[in-house]
């Protein structure tokens, strides 16, 4: 179910822990699987558990507990807007409203073209540069309506790695 590259990455994770502690590599293995396939289907979770010699329930438990795992398909760009207190005090509701209007979707929804999913998340630990959001690997801080429009244009332009 996974590419050689992903299998090698999981094998590398495995080396960081004692031989009898394969389960420690589970969170990383699920992340690597999700990065390749977009989300964690039940079949993929079971496959990952099997790779590490674990019962499938171990993978289900972890995948349903942590927020960074997606159990359903999401848009190519997941816009995760922080709504915790420092961002809230600095206008995170306005950020969500702006994105919602621009994209024509509400929180938790994905655009029809499959490009964007809009989410509100809890504190991302970048409170001094509020309001902020995470898109892929990158944080975007001190957001304004103008900077959001620039960012959306860049993401629509096709890059997955917009800083």
């Amino acid at each position: 179910m996974l590419s050689e590259k992903s299998l090698a990455a999981i094998a590398h994770e495995r080396t960081k822990y004692p031989a009898e502690q394969a389960r420690s590599a589970l969170l990383a293995a699920l992340r690597i699987a999700q990065e390749e396939q977009g989300y964690l289907s039940e079949a993929l979770m079971a496959y990952v558990a099997d790779l590490l010699g674990l019962p499938a329930i171990h993978a289900y438990e972890v995948a349903t507990f942590y927020t960074m795992y997606d159990l359903r398909p999401v848009g190519r760009h997941k816009l995760c807007v922080c709504g915790s207190v420092s961002c809230f005090l600095n206008g995170s509701d306005a950020v969500i409203k702006h994105l919602s209007e621009r994209l024509g979707i509400g929180l938790g929804e994905t655009t029809a073209d499959g490009l964007f999913t809009l989410q509100e998340v809890e504190c991302l630990g970048a409170c001094k540069d509020a309001p902020m959001m995470q898109v892929g690997d990158h944080y975007h801080e001190n957001l304004t309506p103008e900077s959001l429009d620039v960012l959306l244009a860049k993401l629509r332009g096709g890059s997955d790695d917009v800083r």
Partner: protein, 427 residues
Amino acid sequence: MFVNGVTLQNRGVPDSHRLSVYAGTGGYAALRKVLLDPIAPDQIISEIKKSALRGRGGAGFPTGLKWSFMPKGVTGTKYLLCNADEGEPGTCKDRDIMRYEPHRLIEGMIIGAYAMGASAGYIFIRGEFVEPIHIVEAALEEAYAKDYLGQNILGTDFSFDLHVYRGAGAYICGEETALMEALEGKKGQPRFKPPFPASYGLYGRPTTINNVETFASVPDIISKGGDWFLNLGKPNNGGTKIFSVTGHVRKPGNYEVSMGLPFKDLLEMAGGLRPGRQLKAVIPGGTSTAMVAGAAMMEVTMDYDSISKAGSALGAGSVIIMDDSVCIVKTVERISRFYMHESCGQCTPCREGMGWLWRVMHRLENGQGREEDLQLLLDVGSRIEGRTICALADGGVAPVVSSIRLFREEYEYHIQHKRCLISMGDA
């Protein structure tokens, strides 16, 4: 005043995350001294005790004392962990240490590992921090290449392996035993204590865990002495501390200052309030600490003891400033939502109670509050506090109870008028 002097001292220096830059400013000299002079493990721990360094993750436990709990003479692996699961709303300091000073953290951990006889360690970084994760991983590679990590470090008998562990999104993993569960590949749910990690930690082995800022304070304590560090602050509150000042200030940021700095000076460093605004309230240590009225806060100094006397806690040094444009009810409703979302679900008072508090806060904020709701919030709060395995639930109760105590009339206005006393619009 001593500004940006310890854990973020190289912030602003180009490429400060590189080993060569760190070494060029005295980095790894403390480790060399410890291993090559050498300094006895006990002597390192007593120097840390002398410095009065206290845990910078929120609990403020004396670091030297914690290190002394690690058992001696046991066979098998002892572990040293770094808690970099920074997630308390208002806290954004460890991220900057990892981005700008990863080697200071790594050197502090290696010294700690030597002092406690740990042979393996993990830096548990929250999964969302992808940029810091890559920086710390690159720094670890540099440290291995320089023989500061791995087998027989610098030709001595001491060996220590250190890896990054990526979290996957859960505030609760900042609780030390939940973090260990996560590291074991499980749901991050806190363990009953005792046994404490020093006797039964990761994989059931003796384990010590400290925050990023705590470890990053260690190299300078070793090279300049415990007394030097202590005297930067005040007795029982040694050293400097990073305060993440956020919310309604003109220059939000991480300010690393001497413990004991008057709050009003810190507020001024952060650019002060916006024009024409008054200070209404401050959460001094992250949302799990009690709210303090603005006027009272202006009399406080930024150290564990002074903030504790004001009825709150220094916590992680996460100072959230609220001016007179905030609706307290709406703000606390938002904070309550966080605790409902982050409760791990293990203890009933927390799993049910965090949701209950939020639902009552939510109806108050939305004009559906009832006369009895304030008493209900206080009653529910008092039945949660102290009845759970970890401190998350107490942290969820604190903002609700403290804000009712300070701003009762604003809550009552919501109940009577079915709307906010102060409209925040889209905030």
